[in-house]
């Protein structure tokens, strides 16, 4: 199980580095577009491309954020419970998340399938073939559900073994606070 989790970490490190580059590229694209507009050279597709970037970056970033305990939870009850009950809430929480995310990934597929079947293009001047952006977007949600399944399995195991310390590391309280420091 530890090996699976460290594999997820390795993939995620690669994923976020690429997403980071994409985001910097997005900043550059918007700025270049503003500059080109001053000399009437704008190619007019910046909004569209930044929208795609946003969809892809968020979809792939979700799984990373899960492993960094970044998705906000309201911990008012959790904070007042003993270790065993804390672990139980963590378990419920990760399993629920896994269910919902898997559902989203399943429902995302028909979107891509329709695009592929009709070879749809965006209704824009760029006429982007949509599969180019929708396939990576869909893959991001699939990756999010794979990560959450692995974390759920690990959580079940840690719960059964009553390893509350390990449980807290993979499915514990939101960590955005410490990150900010």
């Amino acid at each position: 199980m530890e090996r699976l989790i460290s594999w997820v970490d390795r993939v995620n490190r690669w994923v976020v580095s690429s997403l980071g580059l994409l985001l910097w590229a997005g900043v550059a694209l918007v700025i270049v577009d503003i500059l080109l507009r001053q000399i009437n050279l704008s190619f007019g597709g910046t909004d569209e491309i930044s929208g795609y970037l946003m969809a892809v970056v968020t979809a792939w970033g979700m799984g990373y954020t899960l492993t960094k305990l970044g998705h906000i939870r309201i911990e008012i009850l959790r904070a007042r419970l003993g270790d065993r009950y804390k672990s139980l809430l963590d378990l419920i929480s990760i399993i629920t998340l896994t269910g919902v995310v898997s559902l989203i990934a399943t429902k995302a597929w028909p979107v891509v399938a329709t695009t592929l079947a009709n070879s749809s293009t965006a209704n824009t001047p760029l006429e982007t073939p949509l599969w180019i952006v929708q396939v990576p977007w869909f893959a991001g949600w699939v990756w999010f559900s794979i990560v959450s399944w692995i974390y759920s399995l690990a959580a079940i195991r840690f719960y059964v073994q009553a390893e509350s310390e390990k449980m807290s590391q993979i499915a514990g309280p939101t960590e955005s606070l410490e990150e900010g420091l």
């Binding site: 503003i34 930044s50 990373y64």
Partner: protein, 429 residues
């Protein structure tokens, strides 16, 4: 349906299920029990169209801007400059806390990061100069909340996106109330320290030369802020474009006045991805819930629900405000905003209130949530940065600022033009 929704929301949140997932679950529930058509089939398409958004990409850009400024040490140097400018006032350094928090959270759009930075820089000085730890830390916590009001504000982008109202107008609407709040904070600090000088620590005077240099040190940040807000106001740039230029400006400022390296840029962008995904999961959940609620005819149901209560328009508004104050004790800013928008905003529209105005009112209410116990995020951030004393001290110190916010809420209801004057000018141009 409304009761089921409210109970379901609170129960699922209490179970500490991630907020975004709770919203999806509620949406699925509404779809299953109250909707005529199975909307779940549209889930995938809805997620694609909501996340494929050139408006929302302003969020990671603004977060990135703030990350770069904070990680490169520009925030720290801003603090010392503001200290030199404000330390002659009764309360000295406390004003620097508020001013830095205001300026910084305004440029970065993140309350928590600001409170964290300011407290790390400021705390050692507070001790050396013998300030009252309660007032000192309370002011940092309170100052940090202003960032979600003064543009560019990520919370306002989210509000604009979910209510389909104009983000530039929201930004303008937030400007005056944000500045008035900041002035109110400074005023109440000066008053407290004037009557109780022992709380304020030693006042210091800096030479004119030092103060002039401090002004110059602040110029880049002020220019960046003016360029972002100004270009949106003048219609030269969309919020997304202004944000991208802001990131560029932040990198330039960081390179000239702070330290910058590949690893700082890398850490900044990774922090940004984490924050963005966190926000987006909540936004997507809320969009889905919005969508299902609209098709289940929530607006009508709410209307008849409140008509049934026999409350006047302002009576209903009072109930809504009370609800925010109570919920705000337990749920944090963005989550609080997003979970309530799908239910409250349709009601606000039905009552004929202005949506832009309500956005600003809601922001003051969630700002209050940031510094009111038992769950006040900023209180905890400041407490964990100062590494001593009790959380209760920060809470007491923040209390005067909660009072100022309460006054601001009353003022906004009595004189809606505080928020609406600037956006209406924009609309009439």
């Amino acid at each position: 349906m409304i009761a089921a929704l409210g109970i379901g929301l609170l129960a699922l949140l209490t179970l500490s299920i991630p907020v975004g997932i709770v919203l999806f679950l509620l949406g699925i529930g509404v779809d299953h029990f109250y909707s005529f058509f199975p909307l779940i089939k549209a889930l995938g398409r809805m997620i694609w169209s909501s996340s494929n958004s050139a408006t929302l990409i302003a969020i990671p850009f603004f977060v990135l801007l703030g990350e770069v400024l904070v990680r490169s040490g520009v925030a720290a140097s801003t603090y010392s400059a503001l200290d030199k400018l404000f330390s002659w006032l009764p309360g000295g350094l406390v004003h620097a806390n508020i001013a830095t928090s205001t300026l910084f959270s305004a440029t970065s759009g993140s309350s928590v990061a600001t409170a964290a930075t300011v407290s790390t820089v400021a705390m050692p000085q507070a001790k050396a100069l013998n300030y009252d730890p309660r007032l000192f830390s309370g002011a940092i916590a309170a100052g940090g909340t202003l960032g979600i009001m003064i543009p560019p504000s990520i919370n306002l982008i989210v509000y604009g996106f979910l209510t389909q109202s104009s983000i530039p107008q929201l930004f303008l609407a937030g400007l005056l109330p944000g500045l008035i709040l900041a002035l109110g904070f400074i005023l109440i600090t000066a008053l407290i320290c004037y009557y109780k000088p022992h709380l304020g620590g030693a006042r210091r005077l800096f030479s004119l030369d030092e103060r002039i240099r401090a002004v110059f040190a602040l110029l880049p940040i002020l220019l960046l802020f003016a360029a972002i807000v100004g270009s949106i106001y003048l219609g030269i740039a969309t919020p997304t474009e202004a944000a991208a230029v802001g990131v560029f400006g932040a990198v330039v400022i960081a390179a000239s006045f702070g330290e910058i390296s590949r690893s700082i840029l890398h850490e900044s962008v990774i922090g940004t991805i984490k924050v963005t995904s966190m926000i987006m999961l909540i936004i997507l959940g809320a969009s889905f819930l919005n969508f299902t609620l609209a098709s289940a005819g929530l607006g009508q149901k709410l209307d008849s629900f409140f008509t049934g209560l026999g409350l006047s328009t302002y009576g209903t508004l009072a109930v809504i405000i009370l609800m925010y104050i109570v919920l705000g004790m337990f749920i944090e800013t963005l989550s609080l905003m997003v979970v309530t928008i799908p239910i409250v905003v349709p009601l606000i529209i039905a009552l004929d209130f202005n949506v832009i105005w309500f956005g600003i009112l809601m922001i003051v209410l969630v700002e209050m949530a940031l510094i009111t116990p038992p769950v006040g995020l900023n209180l905890y951030v400041v407490q964990s940065a100062r590494k001593e004393g009790k959380l209760a001290e920060v809470m007491i110190g923040a209390a005067p600022y909660v009072l100022v916010m309460a006054l601001m809420i009353i003022l906004l209801i009595l004189i809606p033009d505080i928020a609406l004057y600037l956006p209406e000018k924009l609309a009439n141009r």
